[in-house]
């Protein structure tokens, strides 16, 4: 298969890469760039553990072709803490006990970050809708909702 060249920004850094047309963004991140924070849970866009932000929107990177990201900006879980300081959503996940096994955590956090980028006062229903594509098998979701509410409060106060 002929590779094609793509140019994209990942976590603020420019990349010029050669990629096969059928390569997914998830494979590019995990296997070629070693960014293993994005998880591989189902390969069919059901579990949401591979969620990343593409131009600020949460997407399943297992269903996104790397080539689709040409000229665009990707943010992964490795890219949201700034200068060694956790993003308020990350901090809230730690403090509320929203992390158990942690496999859903990167995707959950990125979906939450995307929500709070546009809505600092989300209702319970809006939080649930934003996280509807991210499965968790450990927490029962209660503390994850709590974490998003706490992060929203912190961001409002900033």
């Amino acid at each position: 298969m002929t590779k094609r060249s793509i140019n994209l920004k990942i976590n603020g850094k420019e990349y010029d890469l050669e990629s096969k047309p059928n390569n997914t963004l998830l494979n590019l991140l995990r296997d070629e760039l070693g960014l293993t924070g994005s998880k591989d849970g189902c390969q069919e866009g059901e579990c949401g553990t591979c969620t990343v932000l593409l131009d600020g929107q949460p997407v399943n990177s297992c269903l996104t072709l790397a080539a689709q990201c040409d000229g665009r900006e990707v943010v992964t879980i490795e890219g949201i803490a700034k200068n060694g300081k956790l993003h308020p959503v990350q901090q809230a996940f730690v403090e509320t006990g929203a992390v158990q096994c942690g496999y859903c955590t990167p995707g959950m956090i990125l979906s939450s970050v995307a929500l709070l980028e546009t809505n600092l006062t989300p209702s319970d229903a809006e939080i649930r809708t934003a996280l509807a594509g991210n499965l968790c098998r450990c927490t029962g979701y209660n503390k994850i909702i709590e974490a998003v509410e706490q992060a929203a409060q912190v961001l409002q106060d900033e």
Binding site: R30, G34, L35, T36, G37, S38, K39, D40, G41, C42, Q43, E44, E46, C47, T49, T76, I77, E78, A81, L86, Q90, Q91, F93, V94, E95, T96, G97, V99, Q100, C101, G102, Y103, C104, T105, P106, I109, D124, I127, R128, T129, L131, A132, N134, L135, C136, R137, C138, T139, G140, Y141, N142, K143, I144, I145
Partner: protein, 728 residues
């Protein structure tokens, strides 16, 4: 106890920082330079003889390094309890997830391509799918040496049920069916095998016991234990599903034979088809009582689907000896339970280990009895439930502080208050619209902690203290697997408490057989108690040595639990378990009588963790258990037809999403320190699962007047039953 500084605090989990930043390395996140890739060839058919395996074409493919078959495995049988499962099948396959060949190539694409070119000639055999008919004479045998396909049988006899039934003023006789359940941990099985710097065959993976994995690898490869090393990184959930071997032996075999690093990762479909499930069980109950509600006799017959290999099927029904009648005192009990081999996916360990199934039947028996007698179900439970010094069906006194009546009373008060509030607030009809009806149900339960039934129980731990006049830092060594439940933090809290130092001074060294002794598995709600005792002992010894001016000051080694007893084979009589957890739960549901959809509105869960080492994490276990049990009860429909798994994706096997979760979940901790367990702690990992499904059934009945005797309550079945009911 009131002077505790670290134990009892919701200390933030030490692993959460790496998990929120993406730094935590799960099994599939770890890679090694020059690693080869393995693709397994699964049987893909439920029951067949292998006539021949031809790897010629596959071996000729570019990049292929080796293809391993059963002939390459020195001792080609393994098993957690009994070795009955081939690592790679040679003459017969018994379920679709059996492994036949391991294709090793330079890239995963090459391995996948070559795997499709392995030619296996099978002769299909009759497929056994129904445990009820599997025992009939002439049925095809799944294992030639297991007559009538019986994997394991247990019985219990207490008192005289026949005479008691003759005396009974009311008899409740019903049959219940509970389904298989898939663990659906979000991280599929994966790992890396390599030869470490000391020449040991090493597997870095995710499991529930490094040492059980190590033992089974050593046995299969015919190597001494110290030549095998097992390491766990971050573990993406387990719930019992990682107790059995998945990728471990194949990784070790390939690394050992090729002397190169190898990687293997299962797809979601391979994971769902490949690892054991919660047992599907049919339970027939006959209970006798007096008119005043006093239970006097119970007879239970249970048939469990063991699937293709033994796994923990025997141990799951061994537990029926005390759990079959739920948390009740009944003087005359007869239990007969059997696990039956079929060509279905093996039944294995899953949170609750048989207790959710037994609680389901027992709690509904109590409800039916209450309805027939016109007695309030809470009062009927209080009249019959276990209290201190009560005798279990195993004819031994239940040990420790029995808080069940207190939990039930606490729950009843809460539910009464809720209902009063609701009525006041809404002025209120019990339905939100004409075809949506609301109802409340309750259930109680118990779960034993630790292996029980005479199995040796205990744990290793080690503490090393550094510092001059004061302890500057403490190393804590434990093999206890943190599968997400937070046991590492709990153990660190116990060590910090004993040592009198802040938890920030504890450095954890975890889950590596090369440097740490066996803690036993993350199972049976056991680690905080049993590994906890070992950590407490290690910390106390290290502290003594520190005070005696030894530097570094070391403490630890083996901590052995007091023994439990093997049951009498006829009567089941024994002292079976050291510790129990209890629960009482209420749930309010809304049933859409047109669509059959059931919505969970409000949950009240009252539990006694003895001493909550970390209340935040205890509540996390309760909340997670409730939603997992909700899935078992309502949406998780594991479909297996003629041995073929039809629900092998997360798009066809539906675990609850955030949209399905109750608006309000109240977890109430009633702490009554137990007489056994460090700081009085009880195991809390399973109990909240145990009670929940029958509470939902009762709530649905309260809303609609219709009883169900099976799970899951799929909307189409509920709608059909409600329509049939309304026509009667």
């Amino acid at each position: 106890m009131s002077n505790l500084k670290t134990v009892g605090q919701s200390v933030l989990r030490q692993d959460s920082w790496d998990k929120v930043t993406g730094k935590a390395l799960f099994a599939n996140d770890f890679s090694m330079k020059g690693e080869l890739h393995i693709k397994l060839v699964f049987a893909g058919r439920p029951h067949a003889r292998i006539i021949s395996i031809d790897t010629t074409k596959a071996l000729e493919q570019p990049g292929v390094v080796a293809i391993f078959t059963g002939k390459d495995v020195p001792h080609n049988l393994y098993g957690l309890i009994k070795a009955d499962q081939p690592v790679l099948c040679e003459d017969k396959v018994r379920f679709t997830g059996d492994q036949v060949c391991a294709v090793v190539a330079e890239t995963i694409a090459q391995a996948e391509k070559a795997a499709k070119l392995v030619e296996i000639d099978y002769q299909d055999l009759p497929v056994i799918t129904d445990p009820q008919s599997a025992t009939k004479p002439g049925a095809e045998l799944v294992h030639e040496n297991k007559p009538n396909n019986i994997a394991h049988k247990v019985q219990l006899r207490r008192g005289d049920v026949q005479s008691a039934f003759a005396e009974a003023e009311i008899i409740i006789e019903r049959e219940y069916h509970t389904p298989m359940q898939e663990h659906a941990y979000l991280e599929p099985e994966a790992g890396v095998g390599y030869i470490d710097e000391e020449g040991r065959v090493t597997v870095r993976t995710a499991g529930q016991s490094t040492h059980d994995d190590q033992r089974q690898i050593a046995q299969a490869l015919g190597l001494p234990l110290d030549q095998i090393r097992v390491i766990y990184g971050a573990i993406g959930g387990a719930f019992g599903g990682r107790e059995d071997i998945s990728v471990q032996i194949v990784l070790a075999l390939a690394a050992w034979k090729l002397q190169r690093p190898v990687k293997l990762a299962w797809s979601r479909e391979e994971s769902i088809s490949g690892h054991g499930k919660r047992h599907a069980i049919t339970l027939r109950h006959k209970w006798g009582a007096r008119k005043d509600g006093t239970l006097i006799a119970a007879q239970v017959e249970a048939i469990s689907d063991a699937g293709a290999y033994l796994s923990t099927s025997g141990d799951v029904i061994d537990n029926f000896r005390f759990s079959a009648i739920g948390p009740y005192q009944i003087p005359n009990v007869k239990v007969d339970a059997a696990a039956i081999f079929t060509n279905n996916v093996p039944g294995g360990a899953f949170r609750g280990f048989g207790s959710p199934q037994t609680a389901f039947a027992a709690e509904l028996q109590i409800e039916h009895l209450a309805e027939e007698l016109g007695i309030d179900p809470t009062a009927l439970r209080l009249k019959n439930c276990l209290v201190e010094h009560a005798l279990l069906p195993t004819q031994s006194e239940i040990p420790g502080v029995v808080s069940l009546p207190l939990l039930l009373e606490t729950l009843a008060e809460k539910v009464d208050n809720h209902q009063a509030d609701d009525l006041e607030a809404a002025g209120k009809t019990r339905s939100s619209s004409k075809h949506k009806k609301r109802g409340t149900g309750i259930a109680i339960g118990l779960k034993n902690s630790g292996f029980s039934f005479g199995f040796p129980e205990g744990s290793d731990a080690k503490v090393i203290l550094h510092g001059d006049a004061e302890i500057e830092r403490a190393e804590l060594y434990t093999a206890a697997a943190d599968v997400g439940q937070g046991v590492h933090s709990a153990l660190a809290q116990i060590a910090a408490e004993v040592l009198g130092i802040p938890i920030s001074k504890i450095e954890l060294v975890t889950s590596d057989t090369a440097v740490i002794g066996d803690s036993g598995p993350a199972s049976a709600s056991r680690l905080t108690i049993f590994a906890g005792y070992a950590v407490q002992q290690a910390a106390e010894q290290a502290l003594e040595n520190f005070k005696a001016e030894n530097r570094p000051a070391v403490g630890g080694g083996r901590w052995d639990a007091p023994p439990t007893e093997k049951p009498d084979p006829e009567t089941g009589a024994c002292f079976n378990s050291l510790s129990y957890a209890y629960g009482a739960q209420a749930v309010e549901v809304e049933v859409d009588t047109e669509t059959g959809e059931i919505k969970i509105l409000k949950i009240t869960a009252v539990h006694d963790p003895g001493k909550a080492i970390n209340p935040q994490q205890v509540i996390g276990q309760i909340q997670g258990s409730l939603v997992q049990a909700q899935g078992w009860a309502l949406t998780e429909n594991f479909i297996i037809e003629e041995g073929y798994v039809k629900s092998d994706k997360l798009s066809t096997y539906l675990i609850p999403t955030v949209m399905d979760v109750a608006i309000e979940t109240e977890s109430i901790l009633v702490e009554r320190p137990d007489t056994f367990g460090p700081f009085g702690v009880r195991g809390i990992g399973e109990i909240a699962f145990v009670c929940f499904a029958p509470a939902i059934i009762s709530a649905v009945h309260d809303a609609t007047g219709v009883w169900f005797d099976h799970l899951p309550l799929l909307p189409e079945q509920v709608a059909a039953a409600l329509h049939a009911g309304s026509k009667q």
